[in-house]
């Protein structure tokens, strides 16, 4: 049975995948556990572009302060799920 949490997780993960396709078309099959800067090689401007795409996909605003605290897409996804749940970012 699909739970409410599963659907929310799917929505966040799909939004991130869509955002990667749009903002980083050169990257194929991004690893959600890879560090965005040191492993994937993104610079701070590319990370910002990616997050702006995710914001549009999910219709929520991600404070810049959150970006300083996450290294991987899985970590970002966890923060996004908290925000959607209404917890502090």
């Amino acid at each position: 049975m699909t739970t409410h949490d599963d659907r929310r997780n799917d929505r966040v993960e799909q939004a991130i995948r869509n955002a990667v396709d749009t903002a980083l078309p050169q990257i194929n099959g991004i690893d959600f556990d890879a560090a965005l800067t040191s492993d994937v090689g993104l610079d701070s401007v590319q990370v910002m572009d990616l997050v702006m795409e995710i914001e549009d996909e999910l219709d929520l605003s991600v404070p810049v302060e959150v970006l300083a605290e996450v290294q991987t897409l899985n970590q970002l996804a966890a923060r996004l799920r908290n925000m959607i749940r209404g917890d502090s970012p």
């Binding site: 610079d43 701070s44 401007v45 590319q46 910002m48 572009d49 997050v51 702006m52 549009d56 219709d59 929520l60 605003s61 991600v62 404070p63 810049v64 302060e65």
Partner: protein, 394 residues
């Protein structure tokens, strides 16, 4: 492990620009001949990358003001504005800036960087919000980092994107400070100011306009893009710098809100640093009077701007802005061609700025030219001619 390991990527990026020849980063300028010419690698060059938009750095009146101030007041104030660093001339410059805008208050800072740092970090506090354009200058991002407000980024020059972010804040948008620039220094593009004003008014938000590169250039009295657009009444704060059109070093924030004065008690980059030297305050006061009365200077600058933009478009270059302005950013396909252009122009006796990622938006490789009222028609001829050679060689 070393403390320096974390800089390896930066070191590699610099190494990619080549170790041979004149360095394109922190290029040594051996001498200054005029506001438009200098010496690099022993060779006389046209300076077309110095942000000296009105060429006032060597204006005789501006230079004499600085000399007289050094002779009379000495080389520095040796103290903060909060202690012994507030001379009559610092206050006079603040009155003159406020008066130029017709507003009750202005504050002077030791650098333009600190003007943004202080204004942004202090105006937006713990329970407030900052909304920054994604192409904002580092001083704006650093102001956000220094302060405690929640910071949101909106897409570059996209009022609709800002509108969505302010809508999500609901009533809290009345505690949001929106920051945009009058001219973006990397691509040389301008914001859709009227649309941003409409959005900020709709949400009762506040608007800070950084006129660092637009002050002296736009408007009948050179006050910047807001004056040019006839929208000064709709701006809450204007930040500017003394190190471009005013030819010195320092910065300011001015506002129609008299409570700006309260920042003197709270802004750390204002309090915990030495105040600007008497010489720089004196030269800036003289330069300010020349900017305000500088219709002829602006007319010369705009002749140069229009001529270069037209030529670059005719050569088929892709430019960062479709509206001509004092910065012409040529977008090149990769780092190698940007570097080749930079070197080719220097070989032709023209100094420009090479801008490559991560310093640039959207990973662009740019050759950046800044024009000046001090450039003569012959200077512009030579710049256009050099681009013509490069285009043919490509």
């Amino acid at each position: 492990m070393s403390l320096f390991d974390k800089f390896s990527q930066l070191a590699a990026a610099r190494a990619e620009l080549g170790a041979e020849g004149t360095p394109p980063v922190a290029t040594p300028i051996e001498d200054i001949i005029s506001a438009a010419e200098g010496v690099i690698d022993g060779k006389r060059v046209i300076l077309a990358g110095t942000n000296n938009y009105l060429g006032l750095t060597l204006d005789p009146d501006v230079v004499n003001s600085a000399k007289q101030a050094v002779d009379h007041f000495g080389t520095g104030t040796t103290g903060s504005r909060m202690a012994n660093g507030s001379y009559s001339a610092h206050a006079a410059l603040e009155r003159e800036l406020a008066s130029a805008f017709g507003w009750p208050s202005a504050m002077v800072f030791s650098t333009g960087y600190q003007a943004n740092l202080a204004s942004i970090a202090t105006l937006a506090g713990k329970d407030d919000f900052l909304l920054l354009d994604s192409d904002s200058h580092a001083s704006i991002y650093d102001g956000a980092k220094l302060g405690n407000a929640q910071t949101l980024i909106f897409r570059h020059n996209d009022p609709e994107n800002l509108d969505r972010r302010l809508s999500r804040l609901g009533a809290d948008a009345s505690r949001a400070l929106v920051v945009v620039e009058g001219l973006y220094s990397m691509l040389g593009d301008q914001p859709p100011l009227a649309e941003f004003i409409e959005v900020k008014k709709r949400h009762n938000a506040w608007l800070l306009l950084d006129e660092a590169h637009s002050f002296g250039v736009f408007g009948d009295r050179g006050l910047g893009l807001a004056e040019h657009a006839g929208r000064l009444d709709d701006i809450d704060f204007v930040v500017g710098t003394f190190s471009k059109s005013l030819g010195g070093i320092g910065g300011f924030c001015t506002s129609p809100h008299a409570q700006l004065e309260l920042l003197r008690l709270a802004a750390r980059p204002y309090i915990f640093t030495a105040s600007p030297s008497p010489a720089v305050i004196a030269s800036t006061r003289t330069a300010l009077s020349k900017v305000i009365a500088g219709t002829d200077l602006r007319s010369r600058l705009w002749d140069n701007i229009n001529r270069l933009y037209r030529a670059l478009e005719e050569f088929g270059y892709r430019l960062g802005s479709d509206k001509p302005g004092p910065v012409a950013a040529i977008i090149l396909p990769d780092r190698e061609s940007a570097l080749a252009h930079w070197k080719g122009l220097l070989a032709s006796g023209i100094y420009t700025n090479l801008m490559v990622p991560p310093a640039t938006p959207k990973g662009l490789n740019l050759l950046r030219i800044s024009l000046s009222a001090a450039h003569t028609p012959a200077h512009i001829d030579r710049i256009v001619q050099a681009f013509g050679y490069l285009r043919k060689a490509a």
